[in-house]
Symmetry: C2
Subunit: 229 residues, 2 copies
Amino acid sequence: MDRRPHIDRQYEQELDELHQKVLEMGGLVEKQIADALRALIARDDAGARTIIERDRSVNRMDVEIDELCLRLLALHQPTARDLRLITTALKITTDLERAGDMAENICERAIELNTEPPLKPYIDIPRMAEIALRMLRESLDAFVREDADLALRVCQADDQIDALNAQVFRELLSFMIEEPKTITRGIRLAFVAKYFERVADHATNIAEMVIFMVKGKSIRHMDQVPPSV
Amino acid sequence: MDRRPHIDRQYEQELDELHQKVLEMGGLVEKQIADALRALIARDDAGARTIIERDRSVNRMDVEIDELCLRLLALHQPTARDLRLITTALKITTDLERAGDMAENICERAIELNTEPPLKPYIDIPRMAEIALRMLRESLDAFVREDADLALRVCQADDQIDALNAQVFRELLSFMIEEPKTITRGIRLAFVAKYFERVADHATNIAEMVIFMVKGKSIRHMDQVPPSV
């Protein structure tokens, strides 16, 4: 692995700061999603509203990290490897911010669901949430540790979420067909499951970018190998 | 507006190439979405499959543009303004690629819908598609022309799509409640409407990035003003 030969201390500190800020933003997004699941299950309107409000903090961190990346690119002349690190951070924050938006969407549906009695106990949705959160955490660990193997495992986990989502959907569909009164709730729950699936999609996007960053080639679209920079 | 003082001809050509490639990718994504709408309405399975297959070309362009951006950042020392242009292109392609994925998703639902008789004539979904496509086109025009006013108009158009989507959803819901046999089709159509709404969301994301690029500050999250670079 190349070690940057001509770096000054401030630059090195700012790169560390970039790692730290990405992890911090990731931690907040994870908390938002975990809290959204809790608010959903506990039918906690006030909690859901707090989470929606707190999305602003996620957005603020997104802007801060973008600015830090631009500053690093503008003031230093990053080598190929740091360049990939910084441009990957730029792209990762977009996915993190949108994963955070999913927490907000889940809470909106949760508040709507609370206007009717519960349809059924939550079984598969918490499992989806657990897998999605683990994928998100591991994708960011992979970024910070530049660990392409871990990133690849994140990508592979995405199938589990897709399978669970399909299962939830089928189950809700049979509820709705049997009892049309449940349609509104069924569709809202189908959206909640979809939101957790999209968290996993964002984690997968991040993991794919990490592999690109480490290996210098894209697995995002398996059908081609890009020219090296 | 600053004019780049010390640029060489090749660099200038590569920046032009970047604009061209983003427009080219945008043109292909627009075509994919417009074709997906046509395949949906015409109940054209073969057409839908061709569009799904063609998503690879969109993905290939995404990787190519990323590589061009990295090359520009690595080989030249972009000034503040070009730096914003290049980093914006890096982020825009992610949204473009995902807007392209929506065409694929629409075609998947279209193929499923063709296994049952049509539920109702398409009225609002084509209107959603039309608005979303215009927003996408204008967001890219705004990028190339560095036109913050146009970008702002794109952001403002997003409410129309959201309103249409809510309307489609309500209408489908009443179909499904009245006639449970229509639930599967109703949900598939609700997803199709949602996909067009997400195309508009991607256009809005692009437009917000363009405003950031031109004005040097973010309107992505209205609740804060970031420090300038």
